[in-house]
Point group: D2
């Protein structure tokens, strides 16, 4: 079985632009951590900067994780929830903001070290633009790459997993798709810079997740991390895994194993109106249900199916293998 983790904030309150105070009540951090530890199969958590962890509370948070036998899988620096990042962080037009973003990221590197965590999951969601003619695209993309290179070069003990998403909160984000982001990672020429796939972000990008996995692994083993959720294909609805799609999750888990991905399968959702713990637990259970079928024998059956490419046969195989 793969290693399963969750993003801590998924268990807490979640808001949107219309209900900014959130749909639920905020819970104490220790309660969130306890809930995470109770989800069957979950051994790790990801912590979002500001929301979950900061230089001030990192030791305390580390203790709580230890108390509940949870590993810190990644820190996700907060490049998005503060007014100062509203027009970008690592690629902002304002040099002072870029400087602050670099310094803050180094701070996150320190937090990671304190927590024995080896991955920073970078999602610079505010880095991009909303309108045409609003960005000096060439220059600002260069800022982004150079700043990531500077940080990663100075932190060889940490892996930097770049998470892409086509849009939201910007109409166009610079790290938009698997291959765009891989190009940026490769441009740094550093082994410790790779890519995170969020399945929902990939759907919105029109990608078949399995193919994104293959591209990242084939061009330099650059798949560093996985976030799981489901959506209707048009927006990052951040739903329970399996609540919309089914066959593609089989193909996704097949290629993760086939390309020897050994990282975490992390749940990343926004259960606005749902019980967070339940939503994450159900997602893990769904993926484990699929994973448990992927024995060595079944892996070979799948290879054979793919090499024949007969869709009728594959659909029949899916129905007979998975459904009662």
């Amino acid at each position: 079985m793969a290693k399963y983790s969750i993003i801590l904030g998924n268990l807490g309150n979640t808001c949107d632009r219309f209900l900014s105070s959130g749909y639920k009540d905020a819970l104490p951090k220790e309660e969130l951590i306890k809930q995470a530890s109770q989800i069957e199969g979950v051994k790790g958590v990801e912590l979002v900067g500001t929301w979950d962890v900061s230089s001030d509370n990192v030791d305390k948070v580390g203790e709580m994780l230890a108390n509940h036998n949870l590993q810190c899988v990644s820190i996700i620096p907060d490049y998005f929830s503060q007014k100062r990042w509203g027009r970008g962080s690592l690629s902002a037009k304002d040099p002072e903001i870029r400087k602050q973003a670099i310094e803050y990221t180094f701070e996150c590197v320190e937090m990671a070290r304190k927590l024995g965590c080896t991955t920073l999951n970078l999602w610079p969601g505010q880095d991009g633009y909303d309108y045409v003619l609003q960005s000096n695209i060439a220059l600002e993309r260069r800022y982004l790459m150079e700043n990531i290179r500077e940080i990663a070069k100075a932190s060889p003990d940490i892996n930097f997993a770049l998470e892409y998403k086509p849009k939201e909160p910007r109409n166009f984000c610079f790290m938009a798709r698997a291959s765009d982001t891989l190009l940026l990672a490769k441009e740094t020429a550093l082994d410790n810079v790779g890519v995170t796939i969020d399945t929902g972000h990939a759907f919105v990008a029109g990608e078949n997740v399995a193919e994104s996995i293959v591209i990242l692994q084939e061009y330099g083993r650059k798949l560093f991390h996985m976030h799981f959720n489901d959506n209707y294909g048009h927006w990052d609805d951040d739903m329970i895994v399996g609540s919309v799609h089914f066959p593609l999750f089989v193909e996704t888990l097949f290629w993760l194993r086939e390309t020897n991905y050994t990282g975490w399968l992390s749940m990343d959702q926004y259960p606005y109106r749902e019980d967070g713990q339940g939503a994450l637990a159900e997602s893990v259970a769904f993926l484990q249900m699929i994973e448990s079928r992927l024995t060595d024998g079944v892996m070979q059956e799948l290879r054979d199916l793919m090499n024949r490419g007969n869709a009728v046969e594959s659909q029949r195989w899916l129905r007979r293998t998975f459904f009662k």
Copy 2:
């Protein structure tokens, strides 16, 4: 179990704009009909005008159907495959074309009568526009409604099921969504005018099929017919049912039964590169797998789930009920 049917042409050759001669070889009509009759659970076929049936061969086609114990479920008038309809049929700007479209539809009514078929499935795919400022929208929509009313009023023994689709072959089709088309049907004020849902068309329209079923049934029991296929949500890919989505087909079959839909479940696909018979058979098998779980007890469980509205619980129920 519901009544299952297929569209005959799905078994034959299929082309697109790049490979206009088609991906497969054309088969003799009798062979198509024989193949249809061999699909487990299928008792009826739909015939497309020109492609499958015309005034000239209707008797012969009727014999073939009888020989293979198949019922003619509907005739789909050909409003799309001839140059004369290229700029519209029942709503064309040219009055001569509108007249021809009306006459041709009456011809199809006659064919239906000869075949003991009580439904015309109208899909005027060329009726719409591609560019802004290209259509006198008010006038042309009125032509469409009036001409359908004229035909349906004169043919009270035939049901006219209006099939909607947001785009293709026009960038904007006049019968675009469930509710647009229901409004048009109601405007005729005729009991024998209703609506066909094609699941794939509904996905492209951004509809939840279950809700479209409810709307059509609640506002006057106007769901006349169902076409089934699957796609990725952005285009009418016309794929095997269940090859992309799963939970929504459960909800779809629930609401068909809950609203006492007694019509056919018809497979409508474009298996460009697949074995047509296999693609249709697999689709039927997938739907029957779901349908067979929907016992009276399960129907009540579903009602209870919907009334509680707890998504975590519903997803868990789906996983435990359907997956091994």
Copy 3:
């Protein structure tokens, strides 16, 4: 020239799910009203419940509007920014919530009367569902219609303009498209219930706005109100009008005049990182630029173009008429 208005909150702070405290600073209400009054051509404002107006401050707000010579064009009841509406308002499963929603709407009717405002723009954005099997769709849609009917029947001096949007904040909203919402309006059988088109919501729904206008006007003169903004076609980006599209706004203004729409053209945007006043002013200027070209002579030219339906000719006409 048409009557132009804006939504007051567009001038203030705007947030999203990642930056919940907002991208800008909050301004005093009087400052917002003053800014609105300064936008060239703007004579009215729309007020959102809770955010802009409540029973407690309605008199004070009325004074401010009077001081700045602004008319209250509509009140938009707050069905979305409070935790109690998080799972729906007028169609909530919980009868107590539905009751509160009705009472609150009557409160808004009173506010409108105090402000000499004749329109309530109802956008029950939380009414819908996120997951399949989460809603008793038939029952909840009925609640929505019956409650709107009850309120509107008791308030014959007020027009109720139902604003549709396919998704956000729910993955599926019950008032999703022009025709769905028109059906609901017609089901009330009340003259004072109609529909609001938000151009951006219509784009997301895949609608051509011009055709939505025609449908609403042809089936009973039910277009009650217009909200304007632009987006990239996939999400409600709420951008400056004309920043993405051009020709369709010409067609939109043509059909508004052609169908004798005499209501307001109201700007509804989310200028997250922009100067709000500037964004709204530029949108008004863009629409007025188009409107000023639509002389009686040009209206006739457009009718002729539409009746000929020659896209090459229409595009040439657009280029020569509008571009330098």
Copy 4:
């Protein structure tokens, strides 16, 4: 002014899956070439294999082009219109088909040499898959890269411009997005392999064309060719340029000049029901209208606008600069 060209077949008959015989009548090749030569500003044509040019008629076609003073801008090998390519060409599972695809491409190289043409525009539209579990993605993507490398390495006098498109005719094409295709081009490690942007394909991929230009130019000056058309953002509608969008074409032309793109601006449309010559001429006129405004002074104004990033200011500038 940039160099403008068109794809010859755009002037002829065009079909779709419903009207496979096409919406118009086929014209003699010489008539198509004559029509191309009459479009103001057009100096070159692209020829599609099989449809427009083959080894058998290449000399004759060359004469016709010379007679009408037209340059052959590129040859687009036919990897899509023959049954043998229905399941892929350069990446087909069947080694015999891959071999034929390589041989045929070398044939096209020869045709290009005979016509004094230095570019092959490769669009292997059938290379991809429709269903999950249908492709050995890693292996088949490798075939594609290796075969292109083999061909390009053996033909150093020819540039190979790889044209991407997310879907159609396959639900997932291997050359799907700008960056995916750039990665493949870079993997060949050959200077004569680059990328073609088709603006409409980029819209469907959710790309901002300007950013795709920047990515291709920044990572190795790999933008080899440009195809122009417009669409509604969801499908490759292949419409007249400017019929949907406006501001983005300004940004597109800015970045082409800013990154010193010196290739052709080629019109690539499917004027199904339109006069082909008119559709192409209007597209060229629209782009030239924009281009003629982009003086050195305006280029500097645009740089300043982009560096400030004030969307209100940019939209005002666009309105005042371009509209009457």
